[in-house]
Symmetry: C2
Subunit: 428 residues, 2 copies
């Protein structure tokens, strides 16, 4: 048997698909119970088509989506164009035409996933997207298949390779944010406009998808509080190290008594935490659950072959289900009403870096402000006293978001204090 | 709908199963598409039955396997007794009676797995055993479901929690082997006869199962070269650290040009390798593949709840497949003829710790012996010279097993050299 597929787009990731289908042909056909054949490839225009043909790519390149949608031989459409449009329209039309869809498009899924899944459900077709979160790490299928028996209480993820590469350079080699960004751009990890990566937007998209698979809750992108690494200074990095931590951009999704709390923020991780040694462009998802306890899934977050591996795994799964006549099930079947946590239930330790006058009694003044909000200190460090100003660094015990707001306001109200930074701290 | 199951044995792990079925009832039923009900529990005798009833366990305890096998309402049998017999007979009879079986019994699967799988196949029933390797880590299902598109070239596993706990104490706290063993026994991690753990037998069982899932090859237990941590000394540990490594018991399964090479041995891991920070009783499987590249799966290797989580995930999967009418497929469908590697294709770097006379020219003598086998040095360290003897430590570049045999023989033939230890080294 042969399953015919069509690729939408033939960029870096897309060209990894034929690589795997060829290199791993026997195993893939054994698993898929079918041969998987690339029947058509959609490209932008004749110019791209001619360039690819000239480069020796021997595919049936087409320039109109209709040539794919009206082709009843094509059973699966693989969208690898990225961004919202025209991907959204093409996927919608493919699902409506009764075609199964595989995509790696996290932006689209995070923002329009619920709508697209409803369309897929209505037409009894599959919409799979293993590659959308943490590229090569098979985390979504693992959550959907293996964590069925377990109840997840918290997920922590290093989900953005670009910012993790930058933080690794800042932590391990003392680079500045600007130097790290320049290097990431030079290596092609960061785009010329790095906003999505460095401001935590990309990681927040992935947190939306992880919330569905890990907690059965469909939350909105806007529900994920996100803050990137832009204002993490080399000072913060050095102070973190002195206190026994490394800073990484971490997505945290946690179920509290009142509901789900999802946040992306630069976070102090204890040096011995498994996530602390996830370096460079690697990603990892750390899962806390009532059954397994602690587990971690580590691998490349992006790249041609890792992403293509996840895409082809989805193709195989759909092909098998076509064979078993069980196709059309949701990728993720865990579903509960979404409920967001109240501010007073979202708790964390925090790091405060505060500039004070270099005079006696500053720690006492700070202690009074924190004490008024019933926040206690875990670690305190005074440094960089120059006669005029001093730096006082505090790591607190857990406080909730209300306490955090209050104490931040109270600190800002003191004229001769200057808050350099406030960052989340993962407790030991 | 309700799926009725029977537990064989009601020890620590078995009692984790009802915990999860209760604590996670809604999610489990949503995933299983059925309620899962423990209909019968097999215990040894009336004494155990009465003790469990007195402890408040309200199950239908039976003392004869026949009461389960002849009960047509029982669809799935969960074997959690461990060891070979009577588990083997009970599982065989259950499969022959048309019942699906879930087990965590790695010893049994490593030695008799092929036979049992053939029986399951013949009777078109499921035999699942996610819990058999790395307890709580969903590694087998991940290999079977997500690595379908990828080709694995090497797997490295920290698979035995007991010996990893011991090595962690030896590496991080400088404990002796004996002190670490005594502590492991005190904490209940090691049995009074620790052979299976410390001699690498348990890890070798798991390597047999991983070979099936990762490489599609059914090899024999005897094909896994295994050596435990018994003769790793504190000297080796300290020298490893000086050279930039940590020592762990590592299972390595690698596909060479001529076939599969599987080995369990204490191994030097570069300090920055992700496996190097897998400490205490935690397990991890590090996978190298042509698609994903490098990935790692980390979690608890044993324990009541982690193991029960894997068992219940298997129960859910079978229950779903009963619902879909697709039950009876092999847990692992990847299968190729088994082929073992030739000695000359099995290559690794090695650590040699050699005692020589404390006289000039010893390094030259050693260099000549290694050079005769065309083995080159990567690192060399001379220490502990006391006027009479000196310790010379060498880390080599890659050599094959033939070269290793030859150089070991040549070194032994030199009367005033004494080999303290030879250990595998994972190259950077």
């Amino acid at each position: 048997m042969t399953v015919k597929i069509a690729l939408l787009g033939f960029g870096t990731v897309a060209s990894g698909v034929p690589y795997l289908l060829k290199e791993n042909k026997i195993k893939i056909e054994q698993a898929a119970k079918s041969e998987i054949e690339i029947a058509k490839v959609l490209v932008k225009d004749d110019e791209e088509k001619n360039r690819l043909l000239a480069d020796g790519h021997e595919y049936n390149f087409v320039t109109s989506i209709d040539e794919i949608l009206t082709d009843t031989d094509v059973e699966i459409v693989v969208e690898l164009m990225g961004r919202i449009e025209p991907a959204k329209t093409f996927i919608t039309r493919a699902l409506e035409a009764g075609k199964h869809v595989v995509t790696a498009n996290k932006d689209l899924l995070a923002v329009h996933g619920a709508d697209l899944l409803a369309i897929a459900q209505k037409h009894q077709v599959a919409l799979y997207y293993e590659a959308a979160v943490a590229g090569g790490i098979p985390i979504l299928r693992t959550l959907a298949n293996s964590f069925t028996s377990d109840k997840i209480t918290r997920m922590l993820g290093v989900l953005n390779g670009t910012s993790n590469f930058m933080m690794t350079k800042m932590v391990e080699e003392g680079w500045s944010y600007q130097a790290a960004l320049a290097k990431a751009q030079e290596l092609g990890y960061a785009e010329s406009d790095p906003t999505n990566d460095v401001d935590g937007i990309d990681a927040a998209y992935k947190a939306v998808i992880l919330s569905q698979f890990g907690f059965g809750m469909t939350i909105n992108f806007e529900d994920v509080v996100h803050r990137g690494i832009r204002d993490v200074t080399t000072d913060d990095v050095v102070l973190a190290q002195e206190l026994g931590y490394v800073i990484k951009l971490v997505a945290s999704i946690e179920e509290t008594a009142s509901g789900l709390a999802a946040e992306v923020s630069p976070t102090f991780l204890p040096k011995h935490h498994p996530l602390a040694s996830v370096n460079g462009v690697m990603n990892a998802v750390f899962v806390e659950s009532i059954g397994i306890g602690e587990s971690m899934f580590y691998g490349p977050g992006a790249g041609q072959k890792p992403t293509a591996t996840s895409v082809v795994a989805d193709l195989i799964r759909i092909s098998r289900r076509l064979n078993d006549k069980t196709v059309g099930k949701s990728f993720n079947e865990f579903s509960r009403p979404a409920q967001l946590a109240k501010a007073e239930d979202i708790k964390s330790d925090y790091y405060f870096s505060i500039q004070t006058p270099d005079q006696p009694g500053q720690i006492l003044r700070l202690a009074e402000i924190f004490n008024a909000q019933q926040i206690s200190f875990k670690q305190i460090l005074q440094s960089q006293a120059n006669g005029q100003t001093a730096r006082i660094v505090i790591v607190t015990h857990a406080m909730n978001k209300k306490q955090l707001d209050n104490v931040s306001k109270d600190l800002k109200a003191v004229a001769d204090f200057e808050i350099h930074n406030i960052l989340r701290v993962l407790g030991e």
